[in-house]
């Protein structure tokens, strides 16, 4: 409980209430976006409804959600010195997006449990490192049960074995048979690789506990289904993997196949390359940010080019949470997200595509749990057990 290592600036910041710190962060984030991406303040716009902004019926609409497992701080992204790392977000996506500067995660800052919270609209408290399903119904279950959609219409592409159970909850009114199909591309590659050595650079399960790979649980997508469902031979899959430099690139490759072959209405992809930051290597963290920036733009381009998606898809991009501030002596800056300070809890979200206003920024506080009810309102299903509130600016 040493007091010796509290910095003067951290002490000054500690004097600010967490909500004030968050406000400060949000204000600078908004101003960065206004000056660099030319976005307008949403509060000054006349209200309009989603129905007035789109001609696509809810039943025909598609949604793709990209989450980052491993947030990136403003100084490496939206701040002037960080914008060089996210050219695609700044120049291509944000000008077309509605951007929310203050998405607060009040839950556990571990990637699996936080992604599960995003997917259920409830702050889940399951063990972050165990192969367990969420305790509350997921968006996939609400979507499929309410709208009577088949299993092929909701998919998750996730980075590591730990995410294998995210597709459906243990809730007794939902659960088995009602969730999303989950693909773990790295797991598929492990199964595909006979020798393993060619693919090792892609196979690390996660960065926070690099020595440990959880056992798979649940009914995973198996290697033989590559051919039957994604029309992809194991040899082609392996050959393509050889051209990729990271697990997230492999995930996006699988996403493209899914979009072409099955065109699900609800597609959720979780990226993880940025989380290399846990190894403490700043250059690799920056590389991860740049790659994620490029891959988000690739998915947006794929949406525009795929006939099943063009003109009727809304894309959401959001980190699951932030990372520790340099000013908090309890942490080690960019490396982790362990302090629970306002900066590690306050992240952002952008939405773009069908029915979304372009080039607008909103900085009122909202919570990560608001995503599920918002998607419910957009797609026409209810999420009765979600704790969040629909985001009115998108409806």
């Amino acid at each position: 409980m040493s007091s010796q290592f509290l910095p003067r600036r951290a002490k000054d910041r500690a004097c600010l209430a967490p909500y004030k710190l968050a406000r400060q962060l949000v204000w600078t984030r908004r101003e960065f976006l206004r000056s660099a991406a030319g976005v307008a303040l949403g509060g000054s716009l006349l209200p309009s409804s989603l129905a007035a902004r789109t001609r696509i019926a809810a039943s025909k609409r598609k949604v793709i959600v990209i989450t980052f497992g491993g947030g990136a701080r403003d100084q490496e992204t939206f701040a002037p010195e960080g914008q060089e790392n996210i050219p695609h977000l700044m120049r291509e996506l944000i000008p077309q997006a509605t951007f929310f500067t203050q998405v607060v995660n009040r839950g556990i800052l571990g990637h699996y449990v936080a992604t599960a919270s995003l997917a259920t609209g409830v702050y889940e408290t399951i063990n972050n490192f165990a192969s367990l399903p969420p305790e509350h119904p997921t968006i996939f279950e609400y979507f499929r049960k309410d709208l009577k959609r088949p299993a092929s219409d909701a998919w998750v592409v996730a980075p590591s074995n730990g995410f294998n159970r995210i597709g459906e909850s243990s809730h007794r009114s939902y659960g088995p048979g009602l969730g999303a199909r989950v693909i773990l591309p790295k797991h598929l590659l492990t199964a595909a690789a006979s020798s393993g050595t060619d693919y090792n650079h892609l196979l690390r399960d996660n960065y926070e506990t690099p020595y440990y790979t959880p056992e798979l649980g649940g009914n995973g997508f198996e290697l033989q289904q590559l051919g039957t469902m994604l029309k992809l031979s194991v040899d082609d899959f392996k050959a393509h993997a050889r051209t990729l430099s990271s697990p997230d690139e492999l995930s996006v490759y699988i996403v493209r196949q899914l979009m072409r072959q099955l065109a699900p209405s609800l597609l959720w992809i979780t990226m993880h390359d940025i989380d290399i930051a846990h190894a403490g290597t700043y250059s690799l963290y920056i590389e991860g940010i740049r790659r994620t920036d490029r891959l988000c733009a690739d998915i947006w381009k794929a949406i525009q080019s795929e006939p099943e998606y063009a003109g009727k898809t809304t894309l959401f991009i959001l980190p699951d949470f932030g990372r520790d501030s340099d000013d908090d002596a309890g942490g080690n800056g960019f490396q982790h997200h362990r302090t629970g300070d306002a900066l590690s809890r306050t992240t952002w979200m952008m939405a773009l595509g069908d029915g979304v206003r372009e080039g607008v920024v909103f900085d009122r506080p909202m919570e990560s749990t608001d995503l599920v009810p918002t998607l419910g309102s957009m797609l026409g299903f209810s999420a009765p057990l979600a704790q969040g509130k629909p985001i009115r600016e998108l409806l």
Binding site: M1, R106, Y212, H278, A279, G280, N332
Partner: protein, 401 residues
């Protein structure tokens, strides 16, 4: 068991000096909330292996708590008293295993959404403690030196962007014999102000020859220890039921002898090095992370008067599972990536130096090894300035001090 049931003989499992220290304060310890006490015991149980600055701080903290009246104690710790604990935590062996308790408490606080309340309580306590027991001023101004870019011949990345606003950026530093010159400066300071663990040299590669008065830690020097540790980790993760939390507990219990360190070594420094490797994320694998984390921990714990950190090229990124395997393949190096890591590491070294008492008088130098770029920061150096005048590293240190 609750703190109110505490007896001095319950510290019999502690190392001798820790036992002696705590036995003198059983009265006040028994009045502390359970959400607070194990954090204090986690520090105290390591008392025999702590650096002098840490020992003094802990002694003063205990003495201060002992001086507080019952009402003052309640007031100081009311935030902790409001934390709700589970029965499992209350019944755990928090006396003999305080570190495990704190780890489980952390998980529990996250799960029960009490982390923010605990954090507020901890900050409030730290503020009061700092006011009541001001941190010791150093006997001489501190000096931090960071050397980056070993092995880099050409570089297009602008360096020191985070540090330049805080000091003067020099573009025409004569690099000849720079490392030796800086090591000599550190050795001279160690002779002028001798203090145990007061003057450090941390190398992310193989240590250059250094004066024996310095406390030296190097990534290369710990290679055999890292190899033993990797073997132990591999063996542990293959055990049925082993998860990340269990693994952390196992690693936290490792002692220098478990990792093949000689018994005749420096017990305090050996324990410090083991903690760097078992508690620091990435320190076993990436030398740049090792250098940065070791510097952070040395500053936080030993509060040295002088700290020289030299970064070295880390291995190119490979999967961690592969890196941890017992392969004899020679690892490729990534000098340019390491330069970027070290540039950020230098900034963190400066930040951490600023967190110590006497920061307003401290000085800092970062130098691109064998090149002509450097930033010097000190009480009299102008901030955000740039110089193209030819100069030397010792001149920069004179200006910065």
């Amino acid at each position: 068991m609750f703190p109110s049931d505490l007896k001095s003989e319950q510290f019999n499992g502690y190392p001798p000096e820790a036992r002696k220290l705590l036995s003198a304060y059983v009265g006040v310890l028994s009045r502390l909330p359970l959400s607070f006490l194990p954090s204090l015991l986690r520090e105290a149980i390591e008392f025999d292996y702590k650096f002098p600055a840490e020992r003094r701080a802990l002694e003063k903290e205990l003495a201060n708590l002992d001086l507080l009246s019952a009402e003052q104690l309640r007031d100081w710790l009311q935030g902790f008293a409001q934390i709700h604990l589970s029965a499992a935590l209350e019944h755990s062996d928090w006396i003999n295993a305080p570190a495990q308790f704190v780890e489980q408490l952390s998980s529990y606080l996250w799960t029960t959404h009490q982390l923010d309340a605990f954090r507020s309580a901890a900050l409030a306590y730290a503020d009061r403690l700092r006011a009541a027991v001001p941190p010791e001023k150093p006997p001489a101004p501190r000096l931090g030196i960071t050397i980056v870019g070993q092995g880099v011949t050409t570089n297009d990345v602008p360096l020191f962007r985070k540090l330049r606003p805080h000091g003067a950026y020099f573009r025409a530093v004569r690099p000849e014999n720079g490392l030796q010159l800086l090591l000599n400066v550190v050795a001279e300071r160690a002779k002028a102000d001798p203090a145990p663990y007061g003057h450090w040299y941390i190398d992310g590669g193989r240590a250059a020859p250094y004066d024996p008065t310095l406390t030296c830690v190097s990534y290369h020097g710990l290679e055999p220890v890292r190899a033993v540790l990797s073997g132990k980790i591999r063996a542990e993760i293959e055990r049925p039921g082993m998860g990340p939390e269990n693994l952390r507990t196992v690693l936290a219990q490792l002692r220098p002898a478990d990792l093949g360190m000689p018994k005749a070594g420096d017990a305090v420094l050996d324990r410090f090095q083991v903690k760097v490797l078992t508690e620091g994320s990435g320190t076993q694998i990436f030398s740049t992370t090792f250098a940065q984390w070791t510097a952070r921990e040395a500053l936080r714990r030993a509060q040295p008067l002088t700290l020289l950190v030299r970064f070295a090229p880390r291995q190119r990124q490979k999967p961690m599972n592969e890196m941890l395997s017992a392969s004899h393949e020679v690892a490729e190096l990534d000098p340019l990536g390491s330069l970027i890591d070290a540039d950020m590491g230098a900034y963190y070294n400066w930040l951490n130096l600023q967190r110590l008492p006497g920061a307003e008088q401290s000085s800092f130098l970062v130098w691109f090894e064998d090149h002509s770029e450097a930033v010097a920061i000190g009480p009299t150096l102008p901030r955000g300035t740039e110089s193209t005048t030819a100069t030397t590293l010792d001149q920069l240190l004179n200006w910065a001090s």
